[in-house]
């Protein structure tokens, strides 16, 4: 398997909601950058954009 193929496979797995289990078990308190974290980050970043736009309109 080539590096590019491995990267694609990894991205696909992450997009399907999987996170590295062995790494999760090894780290104390579990891994931080999970698919759920990025879902929250997306909501936060996109909503922040909306707020900024509203502020700009007021200005």
């Amino acid at each position: 398997m080539k590096f590019q193929d491995a990267v694609k496979k990894s991205i696909k797995a992450f997009m399907n909601g999987n996170s590295p289990q062995a790494t999760d078990e090894m780290s104390e308190g579990g891994i931080f950058h999970t698919p759920a974290y990025f879902d929250e980050l997306e909501e936060q970043m996109l909503s922040d954009d909306g707020k900024e736009e509203i502020v700009n309109e007021d200005v």
């Binding site: 590096f3 990267v7 694609k8 991205i11 997009m15 590295p20 891994i31 950058h33």
Partner: protein, 187 residues
């Protein structure tokens, strides 16, 4: 040839292991630290410009991610194994950045490269062809002579009947009496 693509056995023992950053232990070995490092790096103005520019030219996110990871590996920041693990979060983050800027993107992890199986392609693969035209094409293709394995100057294989027959050889050696035609046109 694939045989020559592989490294020479034991080459790693003969090479100087201090020559390249990826020969030394990586700087980051923790998954979260690695993802944080890449996210921070992507938030630098120059990197961000590059990512947006690549997204604007319809580059797949998987391509952008692998180039970022290769950069980190070549600088000795993290190992290849950790890079592959970090590919998912980085791709997700780039997707969020693209959404933020209303840039349409393609993850590049779909089955675009897959060959569609159609009835025609299946027939071609099985050698079942309906139309006469296709059969004629196949026949013509079969007639194309195969190049000898040893090249033009290579020794003939057993399949090629290159030896002249006994009569031809005798004629070439002048051992056959030629029939003399009468040249007396006036008789």
């Amino acid at each position: 040839m694939k045989m020559f693509d592989a490294p020479i056995a034991g080459a790693n023992y003969a090479a100087d292991t201090r020559n390249y950053p990826w020969h030394r232990p990586p700087d980051l070995v923790n998954y979260d630290e690695g993802v944080d490092y890449l996210i921070q790096k992507m938030n630098e103005p120059q990197e961000l410009e590059l990512v947006y520019a690549l997204l604007d030219i319809d580059a797949h996110i998987s391509t952008i991610v692998s180039s970022l990871l290769m950069q980190g590996i070549s600088r000795g920041k993290f190992s290849i194994d950790l890079a592959i693990l970090m590919a998912g979060p980085i791709a997700r983050y780039i997707g969020i950045l693209a959404d933020e800027q209303d840039i349409k993107y393609n993850m590049g992890v779909g089955d675009e490269d897959r060959v569609n199986i159609t009835p025609t392609s299946l027939k071609m693969a099985l050698g079942i062809l309906d139309s006469d035209g296709e059969e004629e094409t196949l026949e013509v293709l079969e007639e194309v002579p195969v190049m000898q394995e040893g090249g033009l100057m290579g020794a003939p294989t057993g399949d090629d009947d290159v030896a002249a027959s006994d009569d031809e050889q005798a004629a070439m050696l002048g051992m056959v009496e030629e029939e003399v035609e009468s040249t007396d046109e006036f008789s």
